[in-house]
């Protein structure tokens, strides 16, 4: 599903102080596979996620997702690709604090052209999968950290993406909530979603489902 070939990312490329964030990365991820990108801060995990998600362009190299050359997508197409194919889960949740859980979850579907009925049905379904249905009407600022993360999961699932990208999803969660998050990931894995998680949380070293750990260090895959 995902082929990454010779990806390099250099920040401040034409200055006296260039930073080589990714060095000649090659990686293949099959459909339905779960990959854990592990490594300390600054090892290049988030940069790699951003390039796979077409949030950023590499300095050189190719990223192909489902036969689509995403590393070269013009902005207009990159936005459509993200909206259609990817569900994002972030460390800081990136939710709209003053809106309710349901409103946050349906937000990605508003430009989809679906009927409100269908949007609500999909939102209910993804809130149920993420285990946040009981808080549907509450605003985000009334939720705990774990509940916010479950709301973010529901929002990521509502467009039924093939690929789920999580960037340090448990960094702001306690152990119990981190375990609950892993439980939900297990369910998503069973649903056949391709999952990529960038994390340095040791809980991800032994997951209850088949997964591959890819270790990164100084912008290089080391294992």
């Amino acid at each position: 599903m995902i082929t990454i070939e010779n990806i390099n990312k250099i920040y401040n490329e034409k200055t006296d102080n260039p930073f080589h964030a990714l060095k000649n990365i090659n990686l293949k991820i099959a459909k339905g596979e779960s990959v854990i990108l592990s490594g300390v801060s600054g090892s290049g995990k988030s940069t790699l996620l951003a390039i796979i998600a077409s949030l950023d362009k590499p300095s050189s190299g190719k990223v192909i997702v489902d036969k689509e050359l995403v590393s070269k997508l013009p902005d207009l197409h990159a936005s459509a690709y993200r909206a259609k194919s990817i569900g994002f889960i972030f460390q800081h949740f990136n939710l709209l604090e003053s809106l309710s859980v349901t409103e946050n979850v349906i937000a990605p579907l508003i430009p989809s052209g679906l009927s409100m009925r269908e949007i609500e049905d999909r939102a209910n379904q993804s809130m149920q999968t993420a285990g946040i249905s009981h808080k549907a009407t509450q605003t985000i600022r009334e939720l705990s950290g774990g509940e916010k993360q479950r709301c973010a999961i529901a929002r990521a699932l509502v467009t039924d993406p093939k690929l789920i990208i999580c960037d340090e999803p448990t960094a702001n969660l306690d152990r119990d909530n981190s375990l609950k998050f892993i439980e939900i990931l297990t369910r998503l894995n069973e649903l056949g979603k391709t999952i990529i998680v960038a994390t340095h949380d040791p809980l991800f070293d032994s997951l209850p489902f088949d997964s591959r750990v890819v270790k990164m260090e100084d912008g290089v895959i080391v294992g």
């Binding site: 070939e5 010779n6 390099n8 250099i10 490329e13 362009k57 590499p58 300095s59 050189s60 190299g61 190719k62 050359l69 590393s71 070269k72 997508l73 013009p74 902005d75 207009l76 197409h77």
Partner: protein, 322 residues
């Protein structure tokens, strides 16, 4: 210093033109490198850098061209205001003829606006595709436009520095009025035949657009622009001024006539642009520019109605035609 160059409008106009020219010059400086090294199939660091740089250059060009479009009516407004300080001038018509640079400058500006708008269409098509298929073409197209922009900027300077406030210029009644003679109409037409041609060409544009004959739309639109100009100046304008001897394309831009000239000429030129744009997309890129199609028909119909309305209102009010 020449009094004209101290006019607020001229200062603002020339400064804006200079800034835009500078921006476009910067874009132009990068263009040859982009053309030479562009290779979309490469995944090298250089190609990724070129793609980012190309996006920046296109954004600069797009922004500058949009402002150039807005500057055209401001240019007309500026020269209209100069009629207050140039002896003999009643409106922009006298000022544009104040020296030999005026008419070529106005013609060049209109040409650049049309070409610039077509460039923007090409740019949009390029950005909508995934592989930037028209990048090379639009860069070459920009170079051609930039040559014209350079000539235009030179003419701008020459034109405004050569308007004398001591020598009287001719007013519009001399330029377009009866003293100029009626043989000013194109193809030796009289006013009745000109009007018949005016409405027939409009009908032809509508038919060609619905029949989706691109070349027909292009030819009829271009001819309509030419005929419409004469029809407005020599017929419809007299109803706007309510004076059979007043034939001028510029006076209607003044507050005395509620600035209606901006609507008349705006509807005509924008309508024709969308019409040509539709033909351009259909014939060259085999794309259906539905919005251009609808807008061209809407704007040209509005133009026809606006022109005809002045005649109808005059007739209803006075029971006679001019």
């Amino acid at each position: 210093m020449n009094e004209v160059l101290l006019s607020n409008e001229v200062i603002v106009y020339l400064l804006s033109e200079a800034l835009l020219y500078l921006l476009l010059f910067l874009a132009f400086m990068i263009t040859p490198m982009l053309i030479k090294r562009w290779n979309f199939d490469a995944f090298t660091s250089e190609q990724f850098t070129l793609e980012k740089r190309s996006y920046l250059v296109m954004t600069i060009i797009w922004f500058a061209l949009i402002l150039k479009i807005l500057l055209l009516p401001y240019f007309v407004y500026t020269i209209d205001r100069l009629s207050d300080i140039v002896p003999g001038a009643m409106c922009a018509a006298g000022i544009i003829k104040a020296n030999s640079y005026g008419n070529p400058l106005l013609t060049l500006k209109i040409t650049i606006i049309f070409l610039g708008a077509l460039w923007m269409t090409l740019n949009r098509l390029d950005l909508q595709a995934k592989e930037y298929p028209y990048t090379q073409q639009k860069l070459w197209f920009f170079i051609s436009i930039f040559v014209l922009l350079s000539v235009e900027f030179g003419l701008d300077i020459l034109y405004f520095t050569h308007i004398e406030t001591t020598n009287p210029v001719t007013c519009c009644s001399v330029i377009f009025g009866q003293t100029a003679g009626m043989n000013d109409l194109p193809f030796g037409l009289d006013i009745h035949k000109l009007l018949i041609l005016f409405y027939l060409l409009y009908a032809l544009i509508v038919c060609m657009t619905f029949m989706e004959v691109a070349i027909g739309v292009f030819l009829s639109s271009t001819l309509f622009l030419y005929i419409a100009y004469y029809s407005v100046v020599y017929f419809y304008g007299t109803y706007i001024y309510e004076l059979p001897t007043h034939k001028c394309p510029f006076c209607m831009l003044q507050s005395d006539y509620y600035f209606v000239g901006y609507f008349v000429w705006g509807l005509l030129s924008v309508g024709i642009f969308f019409s040509v744009n539709y033909a351009f997309g259909k014939s060259i890129f085999a794309k259906e520019f539905l919005l251009s199609k609808k807008l061209s028909l809407f704007l040209l119909t509005l133009f026809i109605l606006l022109c005809s309305l002045y005649v109808a209102i005059y007739y209803l009010k006075n029971g006679v035609l001019l």
